[in-house]
């Protein structure tokens, strides 16, 4: 069957549009969340994903629903890119019983096993071995699924990162390690955290395929991830991808951390000019895959989704106090 391709790349148009939509959905959702935090409506600590949208989007677009991804404290983007429901996500940020984690998890603990997101951990590097474990399960069951661990540059400080890469490489497991290198670990620049800031090279030591891509270019992320994921499906073992990017907001919440002296306005400006969404948008408009009119329609659609999400949370209840000890164990 013939597939229409975009002009410069070999990515199907449909895929490009899909990725554009996903990135914009994350952006708009996060902008809404930022404003709700400022209004003190949302309490649970939110680590906003704005600026990094191309990574979750580029990776997840190559995945099947039955593939698994694990997320971190900065979880909203992964959830949305993997196909999560904005309603359940918004409800979770308000810690409602209808939230994707039933109000028990909050922003840092987002999950929906039905979309292949078995969870996010607020412990740096905590989900990396879990992704290896899911890959081990696929491997044992001879499934052609893959598992993905998303984590930040900060996670490279934790020993379990290395242990996990070694185990995956040793057993040639179908897992993709995605390092979102946004140059910061909380208030610390990467150079204050790692003696070797070339994380790709660190991963190379484990004798697995590695790549570094522009994490603000969704097409690069997509193409590299896709190849690695396909290889993993064919039992060619794990792979590692370092995506260079930047978070527009500060570590947590909608402040910028510039006033606190943690980074410069110039640095932020530099990166905002490299907006991953604008980048794709420009290309798509140039190539006439996207028109201003079409863009409006998409934005309207997303706005409606977000409005519905808010309406959904508005009619949702908080958990009941009486249920405080519910679900400590799964009882048969």
């Amino acid at each position: 069957m013939y597939k229409k391709k975009s002009v410069n790349t070999d990515i199907p148009l449909k895929t490009l549009r899909e990725m554009y939509l996903t990135m914009l959905r994350i952006r708009k959702f996060e902008e809404t969340v930022a404003s709700l935090i400022l209004k003190k409506e949302i309490q649970t600590p939110c680590h906003l994903y704005i600026g990094q949208e191309a990574i979750a989007t580029g990776v997840c677009t190559s995945l099947r629903k039955s593939d698994y991804v694990f997320s971190t404290h900065r979880s909203h983007g992964h959830y949305i890119a993997k196909g999560g429901d904005l309603k359940k996500l918004m409800a979770e940020l308000y810690c409602r019983e209808t939230g994707c984690s039933y109000g028990r998890g909050g922003s840092m603990h987002i999950a929906d096993p039905d979309i292949g997101l078995p969870g996010s951990s607020a412990i740096v590097a905590g989900t990396i071995p879990l992704a290896v474990g899911v890959a081990y399960s696929f491997f044992l069951q001879k499934k052609d699924n893959v598992s993905v661990a998303f984590f930040g540059d900060g996670a490279v400080g934790e020993g379990v990162f290395y242990e996990s890469l070694n185990l995956a490489a040793l057993k040639k497991l179908p897992v993709l390690f995605v390092c979102e290198n946004n140059l910061f670990s909380t208030h610390m620049p990467i150079s204050a955290c790692l003696a070797n800031i070339d994380i790709k090279k660190t991963a190379e030591t484990f004798c697995i395929p590695t790549a570094r891509v522009d994490g603000n270019d969704v097409q690069s992320v997509y193409k590299t991830a896709k190849k690695m994921i396909e290889n993993a499906r064919k039992n060619k073992g794990p792979a590692f991808i370092e995506c260079m990017t930047y978070r527009w907001y500060g570590h947590v919440g909608p402040n910028l951390d510039i006033d606190k002296g943690l980074r410069s306005k110039e640095e932020l400006d530099y990166w905002m000019k490299r907006d991953p969404i604008k980048k794709l948008e420009r290309q798509m408009i140039q190539q006439k895959i996207l028109t201003i009119a079409k863009k409006k329609v998409i934005e309207e659609m997303i706005k409606k989704e977000i409005d519905e999400a808010i309406a959904f949370k508005n009619k949702s209840h908080s958990p009941e106090k009486i249920d405080i000890a519910r679900s400590v164990f799964k009882e048969e």
Partner: protein, 336 residues
């Protein structure tokens, strides 16, 4: 029935679990070694191959995490730590991840993992190769903790741990490996959370865990000669605890000795004692509740010191005798 050793019962349970359920796999250090985990894993690698019986590098944290991740997809991993001491490296995966996962996501996914920690002490190994960490795991919500003492129980509780939908810390003690007992040949499981009366009696209740059950039974025999009739409860599961069994016994005997061979402070003994103390039985007790535990000290190497370190049946005998002699009607004169 058939009499086999405790270690053989573990081995048989592992064989049958792996054979009967494709979701089960065994991972950890030494699962293919001829000495590392006693003889509990003999024959597994040949029968089930290197993927379902995965001998790992020394990476306790990632190896445990691998098990947790696999469990999230419905697998039933058994992760072994040949000494509990090594589990400190894996605490994040056990306590932050496995224990919380079911609750933290509102009950959507459970973690049906069995984390098998072996108490492997004595023999002048010293402080880092001797620890018994049941109390730490019992403290953490979301974990179940089982400590079988007999060959029958070890098989049935290992099977139950693997069948349980939650993370279970399954703790055995190398000192139990040569104890013999009746063990059915078929696969069976014992309900987690149920203790058992090992000796019926009326004078004093002795609640014991794991290896200390045998010490309690020895003590019971010695005390019988003195005309003292103790009731011995083998807790089997330390969390959740079989409170009703404790209540029933203490209600009758009104005296309680607890024997658990881990450290005293905030230990299993403390929990059992506090469980009785918060019940209405407290004001019916005829004497204080005595805890027989390790002292609050690391394990020494010297075998002479080891003898002083590990509680013996004579310590239980002494405690029971003291409780029976106890009287303090005029408590103004009492010292503590």
């Amino acid at each position: 029935m058939r009499i086999i050793r405790y270690s053989e019962a573990i081995n048989e349970a592992l064989h049958q679990l792996l054979a009967s359920n494709k979701k089960v796999f065994l991972i950890g250090q030494g699962v293919t070694s001829p000495w590392y985990v006693g003889t509990t894993t003999v024959g597994l690698i040949d029968r089930f191959g290197p993927h379902r019986v995965f001998d790992t590098p020394v990476s306790e944290n990632a190896v445990t995490g691998l098990g947790v991740g696999a469990a999230l997809t419905g697998m039933r991993p058994i992760v072994v730590h040949p000494r509990m001491d090594f589990m400190y490296y894996a605490m994040d995966q056990i306590a932050n991840q496995a224990a919380n996962w079911h609750y933290m996501f509102g009950g959507q996914m459970s973690v049906p993992i069995t984390i098998w920690g072996i108490i492997n002490r004595g023999g002048e190994q010293g402080a880092q190769h001797s620890q018994a960490l049941q109390a730490i795991f019992a403290h953490i919500p979301g974990l179940k903790v089982v400590m079988p003492s007999t060959p029958y129980d070890v098989k049935g509780l290992l099977v139950a741990s693997v069948e349980d939908d939650n993370p279970v810390i399954f703790i055995d003690d190398r000192w139990l490996y040569n104890y013999e007992g009746d063990v059915p040949e078929e696969l069976y499981s014992i309900k987690i959370g149920k203790g058992i009366v090992r000796r019926k009696g009326k004078d004093v209740t002795i609640v014991a865990t794991s290896y200390m059950v045998y010490k309690a039974i020895e003590a019971g025999k010695d005390l019988e000669k003195e005309g003292v009739d103790v009731e011995i409860i083998d807790l089997r599961t330390v969390k959740p605890m079989d409170k009703q069994l404790l209540y029933n016994s203490v209600k009758k005997t009104k005296r309680l000795v607890i024997a658990d061979a881990s450290w005293k402070t905030c230990g299993i003994g403390a929990e059992i004692s506090a469980t009785i103390a918060e019940s209405k039985l407290l004001t019916t007790l005829k004497a204080p509740i005595i805890r027989i535990t390790l002292p609050d000290a690391p394990a020494p190497a010297s075998s002479v010191l080891e003898q002083a370190y590990y509680p013996e049946s004579k310590d239980i005998v002494l405690a029971v005798e003291n409780l029976l002699k106890y009287s303090c009607d005029n408590n103004e004169k009492c010292d503590y």
